[in-house]
């Protein structure tokens, strides 16, 4: 039963509600909202706002993992895109800045996709290359400094607001809508799942698996670049060393919490986003409660392990066996009666 729950997403939504309830207990003003300068403020908005980069990353990551892949380089791609956006922001127009940063993310994603789909390298290793080198490249762009900018146009991506909601939240929600519409509105999602389920069989059945893999990594790179732009806009600068540091792990964690199997073949975009919000709600809760933020890592470790054990095929097999035994016993009793 437990093993079947994640499919319907009940477990994740319950977990999020529970964590929010705990947050409410820790900080009674948690759900308070107030309007200031045409923008909503409050802890809940803060969770959404701070969670936006990881939500964006997990939108890309979930599709990559659905093809049985993984992308370790998203943090580094964030750093590169942020560095490019910050260094161009004050001298070029906004469309050009965005095009340059997003284009670079796309190229990074295509590079990863090329290594995985064409050269046939294991995803974890293929993306490790960019994870190691990417941060170096970002530092090359910023020349090892923290590049700051003053352009209000780019700054809008961090501090702006639409209808009272912070810009990062609106952008993340828009990307979620777009991804769901494209992937689930067409056969694309099915083809991606087929690729992850059994690449060879899909290939023989006429699915362009290589193209699928190339496309999901490119999409992941694009999402990472957007997350990088938001992070850079948030602090009005680019820090090549720390932008997006370890966020690839958060994104993978969000996807795994969302019930997407690391073995590929099925995925849920919405639940991955719920997973990202769960992580952020935990972070915010720990901060509000006054516990040392270092506790975060321990909590995350426990959550990963718990989710993994629930997902484990071996444990599902045991649960199934127990259920069958119980059923058999009941039937026996029925026969006796």
């Amino acid at each position: 039963m437990m093993a079947r729950l994640p499919r319907h997403g009940l477990a994740q939504i319950l977990a999020l509600v529970m964590i929010l309830a705990v947050d409410r207990m820790v900080s009674p003003q948690f759900f308070d909202l107030r309007m200031q300068d045409g923008r909503l403020f409050g802890s809940v908005i803060d969770v959404l706002n701070r969670g936006a980069p990881v939500v964006l990353l997990s939108l890309g990551m979930v599709l990559v993992i659905a093809t049985r892949g993984i992308d370790l380089s998203v943090g580094a791609v964030m750093a590169i895109a942020g560095a490019i956006a910050a260094s161009l922001a004050d001298s070029h127009s906004l469309p050009l800045v965005l095009a340059a940063a997003l284009g670079t993310g796309l190229i990074c994603g295509l590079w990863n996709g090329f290594l995985v789909a064409v050269l046939g390298i294991q995803p974890i290793i293929a993306t490790l290359i960019l994870m190691v080198a990417g941060r170096g490249i970002a530092q090359l762009i910023t020349e090892g400094r923290i590049v700051t900018f003053t352009s209000p146009d780019l700054g809008w991506f961090g501090a702006g607001a639409i209808l009272g909601f912070p810009a990062p939240v609106v952008i993340a929600a828009g990307m979620l809508g777009l991804t769901v519409a494209v992937v689930r509105g067409s056969a694309l999602g099915l083809l991606i799942e087929a690729t992850g389920g059994n690449a060879r069989a899909s290939e023989l059945a006429g699915v362009g698996t290589r193209l699928m893999i190339l496309a999901v990594y490119a999409w992941c790179g694009l999402c990472a670049a957007l997350a990088g732009i938001i992070s850079a806009a948030d602090i009005m600068g680019a820090d090549a060393n720390n932008a997006g540091l370890w966020l690839e792990l958060d994104a993978i964690l969000a996807v795994v919490i969302g019930g997407t199997s690391l073995f590929g073949g099925r995925f849920s975009l919405l639940l991955a986003v719920v997973g990202a919000l769960i992580i952020q709600a935990m972070n915010t809760g720990i901060l509000l409660s006054g516990y040392p933020p270092e506790l975060n890592l321990l909590v995350k470790a426990v959550v990963v392990l718990a989710v993994l054990l629930l997902q484990s095929p071996r444990l599902a097999g045991l649960a199934g066996l127990a259920a069958r035994l119980r059923g058999a016993r009941l039937r026996l009793k029925g026969a006796k009666a």
Binding site: I125, L130, V132, G136, I137, A240, L262, E294, V299, L308
Partner: protein, 326 residues
Amino acid sequence: MKGLPPVVITAIVLVAGFAICATQYPNIASTRVVGNLLTDNAFLGIVATGMTFVIISGGIDLSVGSVIGFTTVFVAIAIERLGIPPWLAFVAILVICAAFGAAMGGIIHLFDLPPFIVTLAGMFLARGASFLLSTESIPINAPIYSTVSDFALRLPGGGRLTAIAIIMLIVIAAGALLLHLTRFGANVYALGGSRATTALMGIPVGSMTVRIYMLSSALSGLAGIVFSFYTAAGYSLSAVGVELDTIAAVVIGGTLLTGGQGTVIGTFLGILIQGLIQTYITFDGTLSSWWTKIVTGVLLFAFIALQQAIIVLARRSVLRRAGATS
């Protein structure tokens, strides 16, 4: 390509790189620089030896950097705050690390989970635990620390082979013996070749998995002790990102990431190549340290592409042979 194992290519790259560096900066070719290179990378060499076993067995261990960080903090607190004799602290931390690795190996085997994600959880756990112990850097002033850091074998030419460099060389030699000459080592290769076949051959896959991760974590613990000798302090943020450097060194050393092939000596050469890049950058003075990352990334790509080419060629020759017999 055939008959030229990756480790030979690594050796050629190292020698060529060293020659290029030496022609540009003749001082690099001195025992002083080489001695320092060994000292600076001592902890990396020790971790990488354990990682070689894990990767040859078809797994991966992302927790090594955090385990090093945890070890330095634990040792510092045990010695400086609790007054435990250093040797006892060392034994205790090695036992803790071994148990930690055994637990990860056990979970990987029992629940049939990808090693990558289990050791990722281990990485969070160890780093979080070290943060909980202390977030400050704790200096270690125990007398044994100054004794060990003063100890060094004099090399001809004024170089010093420090105690921690000697520890690394011993670990690498012992690792090479264990991997290439014992039954345990043969089983590690078998496991990386094919898990199912290994199990059918009657090799206890479960206990092997547990022991391999135990070895990796225990060596990370030893590396942590060595690191605390190197910096004379315990700090929870030390050795962040070391897992990547280690994996890179193992791959550059010619170990196949899919498992089943590799050598400890190759890993050692991989460590030396990374150290050489750093040394070159230090000598140059105008290059920033991030060039290390870019060059490492490029080398990583080159070696992975090379591995892929070797695999494809091997598969083709097998196919051709199969075609000839049928």
